[in-house]
């Protein structure tokens, strides 16, 4: 570090890009928050793996734990709300570790003084409904209120616990594995962006926020032991998720753009706004690494589920270009761009 560059704000203060789910966030966590915890031995998957959650060995099974704080603006958006997001987000993080039958959730809520009681009730009803869909309940919680202006509306933290027979890490991809995507990309982020900026796009844009543990359960049951890695492409989108999987697994990934499902509305809106759909957040989709011989079985199982109708095989893992994600556009090839926390407001 040169003497002159140390005066740059980006190195002394936390900025929004540190929360955008990309490289900057991983670096910040590695350099500050995780320091000192990484060396503690864990029988299973701990902080060092920077996975969707942790997994501890309990006899023959695994206790899977994950936690997530949810802030979203606006709190009610087309297709969902912060309550649905808080339940689905944590249930999905568990599912991405292979734990599709959660034992329960905790829920901690911090509200700003003046928050409307009717909004809180609406959020609670939404959480109830989403819990029912996911087959989970809230076991315990915590509620705090902060002074006006000390917090923007409401923050919800949920923690999920589950038991699993096998844990599926981010890092399990091997050359030859195929990449499956469970449905269309970009719906959540674009729906929020359009709503937040009051953009006059006259089309049905809805967030895809949904618990997908049932979908993942069906996929895992179809060909046990053949799903080598999973990740849900939330903040940072498909691009960040694939980069993380490629880096941790020590493989390269080739994605075939024409095979990636995306709705025409999302595509048009993204082009208008100058956004890359591969960097846009999703809240009801998953990327699966699958052994080549099991692709048919897993894809059939996904497509047989209402949440996986549009599932597609979108790419494959290669031994070279380790840590990189190559996009075949149908015309030529390039590297897939990873999100860097562009000056876009937070969306999940």
């Amino acid at each position: 570090m040169t003497a002159t560059s140390s005066i740059r704000t980006s190195e002394t203060l936390v900025t929004l890009r540190h929360g955008a789910g990309g490289r900057a966030m991983r670096q910040l966590i590695g350099e500050t928050l995780a320091a000192g915890f990484l060396q503690t031995p864990v029988d299973g998957i701990g902080l060092a793996a920077m996975d969707d959650g942790a997994a501890l060995r309990i006899g023959e099974r695994w206790l899977v734990v994950t936690t997530d704080s949810h802030v979203v603006h606006p709190i009610f958006f087309p297709g969902g709300d912060i309550g649905r997001l808080a339940v689905a987000g944590t249930v999905n993080d568990l599912a991405m570790m292979g734990a599709t039958e959660p034992l329960g959730l905790t829920c901690a809520i911090i509200m700003e003084e003046g928050f409307r009681r009717s909004d809180l009730e609406r959020i609670q009803r939404s959480m109830q409904g989403t819990c029912r869909e996911a087959g989970v309940t809230i076991l315990t919680g915590d509620t705090k209120v902060m002074g006006r202006g000390e917090l923007d509306g409401i923050v919800i933290n949920t923690t999920g616990v589950a038991l699993a027979d096998a844990v599926i890490p981010d890092a399990g991809l091997r050359p030859g594995d195929r990449i499956l995507l469970t449905g269309s990309i970009g719906d959540h982020g674009i729906a929020l962006m359009v709503k937040r900026h009051s953009l006059a796009i006259d089309a049905a844009l809805e967030s895809d926020v949904t618990p997908i543990n049932g979908l993942i359960r069906a996929a895992l049951a179809a060909a046990p032991g053949t799903v080598t890695a999973m990740k849900d492409p939330t903040r940072g989108g498909v691009s960040s998720a694939l980069h993380e999987m490629a880096e941790k697994s020590g493989v390269g990934i080739v994605v075939h753009e024409p095979r990636v499902p995306i709705s025409p509305v999302v595509r048009s809106a993204a082009e208008m706004l100058g956004l890359d759909p591969f960097q846009i957040a999703n809240e009801g989709k998953a990327l699966l690494g699958v052994r080549p011989e099991a692709v048919g079985a897993v894809l059939d199982a996904l497509r047989a589920h209402p949440l996986g109708i549009a599932a597609a095989e979108v790419g494959e893992c290669i031994a070279d270009h380790v840590g990189r994600v190559i996009l075949d556009t149908g015309i030529g090839r390039r590297l897939l761009v990873e999100a860097e926390g562009e000056p876009l407001p937070r969306i999940c």
């Binding site: 002159t4 560059s5 753009e257 995306i262 190559i326 075949d328 390039r334 590297l335 876009l344």
Partner: protein, 377 residues
Amino acid sequence: MPEAVLTEGASELRFRDPAKAKALSAALGRVVGEIGRVPVSVMHVCGSHEQSIAKFGLRTILPRDLNVIMGPGCPVCVTDVPEVDEAVVLAQDGVRIATYGDMLKVPGSVRSLADAQAEGATVDVVYSAAQAAELARDTTEDVVFFASGFETTAVATAAVVLGDPPPNFSVLSAHKYIPPVMEIVAEMPGTKVEGFLAAGHAATITGSAIFERFVARHKIPVVVAGFEPLDILGGLVKLVELVRDGTPRVENMYPRCVTPEGNKNAQAQLWRVFRTVGGHWRGIAHVPNGNLRLRDEFARVDTRRRYRIDVRRLWTHAPSALTQVCICGNIMAGIASPRDCPLFGKECVPDNPVGACMVSSEGTCKIWHQYGGHPDL
């Protein structure tokens, strides 16, 4: 969303047809071969062209002996340091700044607007000049629109200025005008450029005929092209044909949007509000008539006349020594590529840019950093 509306991707769009792209790529190879000397170098002067070339992976299907150089076609990149400093000083003084997202991270002498924002200044990202004026209407605070862009974008700013903006709204213009800088590049000693691919959207405003004088003076062909992959490949084929035949002239390969005379109404609005003045383009040179500034009659909306902006107080630190090493200027002039820069991808990355080319989504360095430049993929 019903399954029926999901598409199989870009392949069905007319100007993104992979088979036609392959045919054009083959034609390009043929014509470049017929020229009989290598390499053949052409320049485009538009960040949107580079974006498209990179986004669709076109460099992997261009002939090896065809050098497609990106010129000074990114308005954010050529925004000069003192212009950024002006916006930073205003922001630090508590004036609300509205600007395009790309302008946030452009380094000034010691601070970017993003830095100022992290330190407490109010900076709003807007998608249009109209949105900035809206913002001013919704508040009693002063709102300064830090306006960047070439003549295309300047027209939108002009329309807002003419549309009776609220009294608390003003424009800090960093708008630039492209035709004069093409002259600079063509006259640069050691230039290798044998043809220009002109930006289709700017030409919708100016018309394609505006390049006639340039071609007559410099005997270098100009082809106006659009931004879809087939537009660009088709434009390049036409351009290398003109190079091969030694027949410099203006060709319009974007007739579905561009006419010879352009959009007269937009031109009228542009020149009613703006006048050209000479000014420094970051990393390039002093460009005579290269900057667009508001005319005297719009002093009321001109930030530079409404505020006394003293950027010298920012100069408490020396600018980073790294900026002396940065070769953004040579890259934008087309005489160097990002891989010639010792900082590229090391000290200079999008998260912590040294030069403006690494900031904007239309900057050569950022595009190369993200999409892998001339990748062997």
